[in-house]
């Protein structure tokens, strides 16, 4: 529940900012990093639901087919959860490579969802750029999320713990 209070408004502000001011800049994939953070922090059904909601909001903001990003993020959450049982995303390299890998996985899933919806879209170099930028910034953003998540939110119970 607490994660919803923190990460949902953060995502909305980030997406609005991106759409209005930096539509052409390769910014890190914040939604993916949130999903990775929630999955490795202590995944719960709430975390899966948050991933779905973040994907839905992303679809709404980008004018994409509703369900394409939420499909990818919900599954990516599951994979990140399974990965986090084997790998600790605590070192800089693990955070960077893990985030980039999961972002790439998310994009493959989105393209698969588009394919199922009958929309043909080539795998574009911009996607690789976004994946690289996400991996590059992950070691800075993930610890920031950890600090953000540790702050007290009035009225919200601490949730998402194993």
């Amino acid at each position: 529940m607490k994660d919803f209070f923190i990460f949902l408004p953060l995502t909305v502000v980030y997406l609005a900012f991106k759409a209005a001011v930096f539509p052409s800049l390769p910014l890190p994939d914040i939604t993916l990093l949130i999903v990775l953070f929630v999955a490795q922090k202590g995944a719960s059904v709430g975390g899966a639901l948050l991933s779905f909601v973040l994907g839905y909001v992303d679809d709404v903001f980008s004018g994409a087919i509703i369900g394409s990003t939420s499909f990818a993020l919900a599954l990516t959450f599951g994979v990140a959860y399974l990965l986090s049982r084997k790998v600790h995303f605590s070192t800089v390299a693990a955070m960077a490579i893990g985030s980039a890998g999961l972002d790439l996985f998310k994009w493959v899933l989105i393209l698969a969802a588009l394919g199922l919806s009958g929309v043909k879209f080539p795998f574009m170099p911009q996607i690789l750029l976004t994946v690289t930028v996400t991996g590059f910034f992950a070691p800075v953003i993930l610890p920031f999320f950890r600090r953000l998540s540790a702050t007290k939110v009035p009225g919200a119970q601490r949730g998402g713990e194993r």
Partner: protein, 289 residues
């Protein structure tokens, strides 16, 4: 069974939610419109924020430009610096106003020539352009149903077709651009009158179903055919940039560069009357170098 579900609840939840998402995407493609409420709520919350950001961006650009200009003048006396700052600031403002004036004049001229009810709109959001990644190619405009915008209304600029409205809330509209992979429009090659379907591929348009013996050359102008029921006939779409033999040998691979460079657009016109645009727009398209 219950213990299995409990043990794997996270994985099961993510699988169920992803399947539900796929179901949602199929519903949206069928046009059930269930997502409209969410879009409306999000739009109501974020569009004032986006408008403010766009305004702030314009102001910050002006101030930043002025500041950079002044950095080299710091060594000079304070009065001169102040004068330069004031002049630069004024100059930036004037340039901005001049640019706005010129864009508005162009838009107004175009509006008058088209002689159909149109609605000027400002772009307040863009999704995933250039290096921004992502696959959807959409714009958010600051006009919604309260101003008369409707789904499927064409959106044009003095340069040509921009796209069509796919979502309308009270205060904003979402425009599906020509280059979006979901966009398909009927077009005609102006020189030879060959008809085709222009499909978006993310960065440009691809003409479909053009046979190897059809006469299409690089540099040919492509206009709307007026068959879709959305875009009026004769709107300038773009110019053929690539003509190659198709992979299947049945059809040619033809790429079209869209007329409007979306990244440079700040204002557009929503055509409030579908399928009935006068030849003024066609003339405007033809006059483009």
């Amino acid at each position: 069974m219950l213990s299995f579900v409990k043990r794997h609840q996270v994985i099961l939840a993510s699988i169920i939610l992803s399947l539900f998402s796929l179901h949602l995407s199929s519903l949206v493609r069928k046009g059930t419109g269930g997502e409209v409420i969410v879009r409306a709520v999000l739009s109501a919350v974020t569009s004032p924020f986006e408008r403010t950001l766009v305004r702030m961006e314009t102001k910050v650009k002006g101030v930043w430009g002025g500041y950079i200009y002044l950095v080299g003048q710091r060594a000079e006396n304070e009065n001169l610096k102040k004068t330069i700052y004031t002049l630069t600031d004024e100059n930036n403002k004037l340039k901005e106003e001049l640019s706005l004036d010129s864009r508005m004049k162009e838009l107004l001229k175009f509006k008058e020539e088209s002689a159909v009810p149109t609605l000027a709109a400002r772009i307040i959001g863009m999704s995933n352009f250039g290096a921004g990644g992502g696959w959807a190619r959409t714009l958010t405009l600051d006009r919604g149903s309260l101003e008369g915008a409707e789904v499927d209304m064409p959106v044009v600029s003095p340069r040509g077709v921009v796209g069509r409205i796919i979502e309308v809330t009270q205060r904003t509209s979402t425009v599906l651009l020509l280059v979006d992979p979901r966009s398909n429009i009927d077009v005609t090659v102006q020189r030879t009158r060959i008809r085709s379907v222009a499909e978006g591929n993310g960065t440009s348009l691809t003409l479909k179903y053009v046979r190897p013996f059809d006469d299409v050359q690089e540099g040919d102008v492509v206009t709307t055919a007026g068959l879709s029921g959305i875009f009026p006939k004769g709107l300038y779409v773009g110019e053929v940039t690539t003509v190659e033999r198709g992979e299947d040998n049945l059809f040619r691979y033809i790429e079209v560069k869209p007329a409007s460079d979306i990244r440079k657009l700040e204002e557009v016109l929503i055509v409030k009357e579908k399928q009935n645009l006068l030849s003024g727009i066609e003339r405007a398209g033809k006059s483009i170098p």
